[in-house]
């Protein structure tokens, strides 16, 4: 337990350090001191716009979105007992993307985009629930139905991308890669509301999940109501993923990868490990966004591309370890 506590403290410190870096670097470099001062107690001044309208909300959104994604991934992987499951693989993100790409490609008012994306994610999750329900839930069936829905929605997106003029299509493609560059305080507020509702529930579900990991028979024998618990875990997991995709677009690999890192560092699922997972999610997204901003500066990459490029090789490594265990 102390090991987990130490790791959590270290992650929190890393978040603070990365947040400061996020405030400082950019096309208008500010000193750490004046950046922090401008952000927290000394509003106004020469950096006010750069810090308080551009960089500070972006840092906050990265932290919150990272927490959401990592916790969502941890819930799904614990539920389905497969290290390669995450909400994006079963099509939650694709559902949001289909709606968002439709708005961007057809050229509708983008003010509705976050709502449409959220509706798309929730609607897709609902569809997957309904279609994979057959005398109860099975994790495997849920994943396979998700893969099918994912393919269908991908076809819809492909159609939209082929059908409409390239200028609008490119905006859609950019959104699809997931970017934090236009984050605002209202985005942060949306994420805070989502986290305030869903994160406590996620922590309360941990005890159940720990028992459910022992297998269906064992969980039933220990008094876990399986169907209700599964529904609760999936609802919370999908909810967290849906809020993020609505605000910043699909960000691959964070949900898939961070739970692995947390497990490798601190062991099997527990409340402490979930906390560590959440913090590491923030660390990963913050650093990915910094790399995305600065690597090819002044060209800014979408953060999603960086998380994917960095996450892939690590995942191969995880797979090799998984191979050894199997």
């Amino acid at each position: 337990m102390t090991q987990t506590a130490r790791l959590c403290t270290a992650s929190a410190a890393a978040i603070l350090a990365l947040a400061v870096v996020g405030l400082v670097v950019g096309d208008f470099p500010a000193s750490a001191r004046s950046a922090i001062a401008t952000a927290i107690w000394d509003r106004g001044g020469e950096f006010d716009f750069v810090i308080n309208t551009l960089r500070f909300p972006r840092v906050v959104v990265a932290v919150l979105a990272g927490i959401c994604l990592a916790v969502s991934g941890a819930l799904f992987q614990a539920l389905i007992d497969n290290p390669l499951v995450s909400p994006d693989i079963i099509g939650i993100d694709t559902g949001a993307a289909a709606c968002a790409v439709a708005i961007l490609a057809i050229g509708l008012d983008t003010q509705w985009l976050p709502y449409a994306a959220f509706a798309g994610a929730v609607g897709t999750a609902g569809l997957i629930f309904v279609l994979s329900w057959r005398r109860g839930f099975s994790g495997g069936r849920l994943v396979l139905v998700g893969i099918g829905i994912n393919a269908l929605l991908t076809a819809v997106i492909t159609y939209l991308l082929v059908r409409f003029p390239i200028e609008r299509v490119s905006a859609a493609a950019r959104w699809q890669a997931g970017t934090l560059s236009s984050s605002s305080w209202s985005d942060a507020r949306t994420l805070v509301i989502g986290l305030a509702v869903l994160l406590p529930v996620a922590f309360l579900l941990i005890r159940r999940l720990r028992v459910m990991q022992l297998g269906d028979d064992m969980a039933l024998a220990l008094g876990v109501g399986l169907e209700r618990s599964r529904l609760a875990v999936i609802t919370v997991g999908c909810g967290l993923a849906a809020v993020v995709v609505a605000v910043v677009g699909p960000l691959g690999f964070v949900a898939l990868l961070v739970p692995h890192v947390a497990r490798a560092l601190a062991g099997t699922l527990s409340g402490g490990v979930l906390l560590l997972t959440a913090l590491l999610g923030a660390v990963m997204l913050l650093s990915a966004d910094l790399v995305a901003q600065r690597l090819f500066a002044p060209t800014v990459l979408p953060a999603g591309v960086v998380t994917a490029a960095a996450g892939g090789p690590y995942l191969l490594f995880v797979l090799r370890r998984f191979n050894r265990a199997a």
Binding site: S138, G140, G148, A155, A177, F253, L316
Partner: protein, 332 residues
């Protein structure tokens, strides 16, 4: 049993013939059967309809047939060898590898014709599959079916994200690649056919003779070894066939999903679990599905066209879900 399957073989052949005819007949320009007939047997260069058939639709139909057979037979082999009902060449990374290679070719070498994509797509599919195989072979126990599927999923996801990054860096690349990525058999010439026909033909013939070996292997590694099979060798030959077939198919038609997954399942529900028949029928019904989807795509949003990859996914995804909801896959 055996007689029954042999009898329905001409039926499947007739179905393929009809779909082929439909593919020659329908399109943006409606052409009657007589003109199609003349274009093939009594070609008159001055008749516009005949030129369309001869220059555009004949290559398109041949490509559709070859790609359909390639995807379907590769799918059947994959399902048999990996003992995974969700086995399809796409799962082993061929589609993602081909897409990555083609997008790279467009981005860095400025190649813009389907004929130019062919070798890149083929090489990409080959490279990705080899990578998947190597990753799955790492660790104890060699490349077991589960490890192959997992490695394929990871490599596909990785290549997919890199492809997305390339598409974002350059507007023109996106504009070029989006049509290829949708999966399409329009605008292809005889050139691609000439390049890939030998590869696909050899692989098809080898695959047709592998039915008995796949039957043994589909009982499991240990049983197959017990029956005196050199499983590693059979697996390697089957793997080469899959790469050759799926690689050629994706090079010709782009990343079309679901033909490789769905056709072997449909065939299995008709002819049972004998891979000698499954492979043979897949080679005939695969083209039917791909060409059928292509004809639907031409007609459904006329006067424009819907890419065959989109139609296949729209038909195939509900089929997959139906399959998953059935009791057969419940244990997965």
């Amino acid at each position: 049993m055996l007689r029954c399957h042999a009898v329905s073989l001409p039926l499947a052949g007739a179905l393929l013939f009809c779909v082929g005819l439909l593919s020659l007949r329908y399109g943006v320009l409606g052409i009657d059967i007589a003109t199609v007939w003349d274009a093939i047997w009594d070609y008159d260069r001055s008749d516009q309809g005949q030129v369309v058939v001869r220059e555009l639709r004949v290559p398109r139909t041949i490509i559709g047939m070859l790609a359909g057979a390639g995807f379907a037979v590769a799918g059947a082999l994959t399902q048999g060898v990996t003992r995974n009902p969700l086995g399809a060449p796409g799962i082993l990374g061929t589609n993602a590898g081909a897409a990555f290679a083609v997008v790279t070719a467009i981005y860095s070498a400025g190649i813009t014709t389907p004929a130019g994509y062919v070798w890149f797509a083929f090489a990409g599919a080959l490279g990705a599959t080899v990578l998947v195989y190597l990753v799955a072979s790492a660790g104890a126990g060699g490349p077991t079916p589960v490890k192959l599927a997992l490695a394929g999923a990871v490599v596909s996801a990785l290549l997919g994200s890199w492809t997305a990054a390339l598409l974002l860096l350059d507007l023109e690349t996106l504009d070029q690649a989006r049509f290829w990525l949708a999966g399409s058999i329009s605008g292809r010439g005889t050139e691609e056919v000439e390049l890939l026909l030998p590869v696909i033909a050899v692989a098809l013939v080898v695959a047709l003779f592998m039915g008995r070996q796949v039957n043994a292997l589909s009982l499991g590694e240990e049983v197959a070894t017990g029956l005196g099979q050199r499983t590693a060798l059979v697996r390697a030959i089957a793997g080469l066939c899959v790469v050759a077939l799926a690689g050629s198919a994706v090079a010709m038609a782009g990343p079309v999903a679901f033909v490789g997954l769905a056709v072997p399942h449909i065939v299995r529900s008709v002819v049972g679990p004998d891979y000698r028949w499954i492979i043979l029928y897949s080679a005939i019904l695969g083209p039917c599905m791909l060409l059928g989807a292509d004809v639907v795509g031409r007609l459904i949003v006329a006067p424009t066209e819907l890419q065959v990859g989109i139609v296949c996914a729209a038909v195939g995804a509900p089929f997959l879900i139906y399959l998953v909801r059935g009791t057969k896959l419940a244990q997965l």
